[in-house]
Symmetry: C2
Subunit: 398 residues, 2 copies
Amino acid sequence: MKQKLNIGLFGFGVVGQGLYEVLKTSPAFDTEISKICVKNKKERSLPEEFFCYQPDDILNDPNINTVVELIDNAEEAYKIVKKALQNGKHVVSANKKMLAENLPEMIQLQKENKVSLLYEASACGSIPVIRNLEEYYDNDLLLSVTGILNGSSNYILSKIFDHNQSYDAALKDAQDLGFAESDPTFDVEGFDSLFKLIILTLHSFGSIIDPNDVLTYGISNISDFDIQYAREKRYKIKLVGQVERLEGNKITLFVLPRFVRKDKYIYSVEDEFNGVVIKGKAYDKQFMFGKGAGAHPTGSAVLSDITALAHNYAYEYKKMKYADNFEYSKEHKVELYLRYKDETVLEKFSFESITEEYKGPEYNYKIGYIRLADLLRIKDELRDLDIFMSITGASLNY
Amino acid sequence: MKQKLNIGLFGFGVVGQGLYEVLKTSPAFDTEISKICVKNKKERSLPEEFFCYQPDDILNDPNINTVVELIDNAEEAYKIVKKALQNGKHVVSANKKMLAENLPEMIQLQKENKVSLLYEASACGSIPVIRNLEEYYDNDLLLSVTGILNGSSNYILSKIFDHNQSYDAALKDAQDLGFAESDPTFDVEGFDSLFKLIILTLHSFGSIIDPNDVLTYGISNISDFDIQYAREKRYKIKLVGQVERLEGNKITLFVLPRFVRKDKYIYSVEDEFNGVVIKGKAYDKQFMFGKGAGAHPTGSAVLSDITALAHNYAYEYKKMKYADNFEYSKEHKVELYLRYKDETVLEKFSFESITEEYKGPEYNYKIGYIRLADLLRIKDELRDLDIFMSITGASLNY
């Protein structure tokens, strides 16, 4: 049975405006947007009467049964989504930070209020990865989910490796084209990928992991030396999020740059695209690829969630109910390339074994195995050191 | 609510055996196979008491609520699936020919008997394309679905284009490795792709098309001349099935070889892999890639269907209920490369316009636009003519 949705929309940027247009012109969506909450009064593409300026004008409207939240600010989004769910409204959200930081509460609120919160647009834009992990890979054959989850940093890395640009020039290009924010920290330091990975981990293995507890290291420290090193070995460097099942009912996860060889699917994910490799015991590897960000891909994911809501779809979080709960292991060892200048920095890194060492006039590097726990202990310092870290891929199952 | 499945299995080849193992050893599947129907008594990996030899031993067993049908013969599969549904059992099937030829009845039987028939394994093996079209692309933004749907013919074409083999040598290799049957007609003439395309068309646009009514032309007539032509232009030839939405609430579909340039996603689908490009108004293009055939990929698709059944999932065929029904148009024009020897053969081809002509010592070709209807009129003769046809891609939206 299909239910008729009456939508209150928060945010009227490009995604919101596109959404409004599609819902108005497509007969298949038996759905209307009846109110739009925005921050400021100004000239807009719709008549004044569509807009309101107080969240409660939507949240307390008994005729509105669905809230679509498309605002940037995670704290505001949290308040809106929470109250909407409490007031018995279904919600579609794209806010990965808000979701990743509040998953237990978001699940609880859905249960208590018998409403549905969908958020396909929060991870990998138009690629239906959450829905597939939840529904199609709903069994215990899943081994790992590995992806290029952030379009901005991937755009920068593509410019570096395919167009021989420096990091700074590539970042400026990305900013000029709107692929990176003026403060690019969220994207290039890996936080955007991290929040997406936290959401994917829940739908992959039924585990809720605190984002503060996950090693997250981005690409802002990449130097020409590192780029040169990777090029000589015919690698590209990609910023990759991965959650992987280990022996003995454990999982591990991290966001780290990675040397990627041509034989990996993610090697050919270029520019602002996203790509996810889903690996399992019987199906081996599946690869899903598409536009990960931008108004249209985000809009299409939101649309699919709206259609799903109309058909009474809700995430069941089935994997949380499996008998076995996966334990998050930080004992996992990765083979790490560590480029450094100053020898004293090495004291911070407790390599278990060393595979290669190089000393040169400008920079030095070590490659060796190191426990995630030993990196997590120093994770807040990492960004400020004159180093660059990348995993070699040798220890990885993807 | 989860229901407990008690499965009767038809067929105990590699897929069936793998399925049995996984269901037995994975605690997440609260499901058991209680009887297996096979053709002949012989030494098997399970004790004698698991097996039966009469379909009715399963079909009339009131304790069995689910039938998994993994046999090759389409006529036998039809009888088994029909009776299982009539007897109130859910069914998982991988038989694309049986399904494509009996879709209206299969939908009706599900409705009448309030049971679910799932068949993800019937199209693109482990790639969850049917489920995604049914659930995630459940809106009227979809523009086209284009895919390499058959692993055997793609393996042959890969050997030709990446390893410089002749068609005959590549076919023999494929047969030796088990990627092609001793009678390869079903694969290389495009019928396997056709049946999959018919199923995808239903879940893409809600339209049931008679397979006999669809232009299907394979790769068996490919000559060294054609291969040389494609190579010079830096194309690969791929066997592609496509269903595309046209202006004015129409769709068109066909299975034809195609010249594919490097900028297309399907260019890099090699060997026995499958790849599907889903194109829509907002999300642009999505690409799904994975193993399309073989025991494990097929088994994993069957497993996902079994899990879905346990959660009471059924295809709703939502797109059949859209207000607008798509009409199948044969008026669509494609730009066709036609290689021929004997001039008289041209009388059969009613080109609307000619783009290029070539005459040479051995072979000649014409490239021009032609209506599908004009090819459909002569479709039964095409395979016996000394020609090769491939579409150029110029007229295609994918």
